[in-house]
Subunit: 129 residues, 2 copies
């Protein structure tokens, strides 16, 4: 059994092109012996956003702190602590924080030997808007 | 994409023998089309506990509210919001709430066609202590 506080895990900038002011903590991964899926916490800082992107695997997400937006095509969902989000494989999506406090969520993905993540072109991807 | 608040999902009593005052919300499951793993939130009410039990799959857990205990054999870990717990397959474990407020955590498991969950005999299983 591994027990640790999430703040003990380093928060690293998300390096993917199109990400701005997004930090990731890899809490439980295959390196810990997790056989099937990985748990991460993201902090989208005020004004920050992930790229508009898609990939061939799902997200299972629970919002922990702050308020933010998640997009699916032209649909925009406003989410807050306790919101649960299931993003199916292949769905273009983006997280944004238009607020003034950190927008934090836990996000789980299946283990990925070779993740296929694609940033999508267009104004959303370049401007984050 | 599915977006909902966790409180919109019914909280059901955990029916497993040896569970007392434990509620489960099945937030994202195979019924929603989740291909690999399921997200649930548990509430262990004051004085409540899960059975001492084990199974052939892992748990990935984040504590959300309250304070509680998780056991691994004779080891007892006290956990609180932000604690992350990885329980490997086959590890006997129990959750207990000796406190006065609800002990709430999100717990993910791989999809289980035929879950093999075993309550373990002994004083811990019968008394919850």
């Amino acid at each position: 059994m591994i027990v640790r506080h999430y703040t003990e895990v380093a928060a690293l900038p998300v390096a993917m092109e199109g990400a701005e002011n997004v930090l990731i903590r890899n809490l439980i991964t295959a390196k810990d012996g997790a056989p099937n899926f990985a748990m991460r916490i993201f902090d989208v800082l005020p004004g920050g956003h992930t790229p508009l992107h898609q990939h061939d695997y799902e997200h299972e997400i629970l919002i922990l702190d702050g308020e933010g937006e998640v997009t699916e095509g032209k649909r925009i969902f406003t989410v807050s602590p306790g919101s649960v989000i299931f993003i199916r494989p292949g769905t273009p999506h983006q997280f944004r924080n238009p607020g003034e406090q950190s927008f934090r969520f836990v996000c789980l993905i299946p283990n990925q030997p070779t993740p296929d993540v694609r940033a999508l072109p267009g104004k959303d991807a370049s401007s984050g808007g």
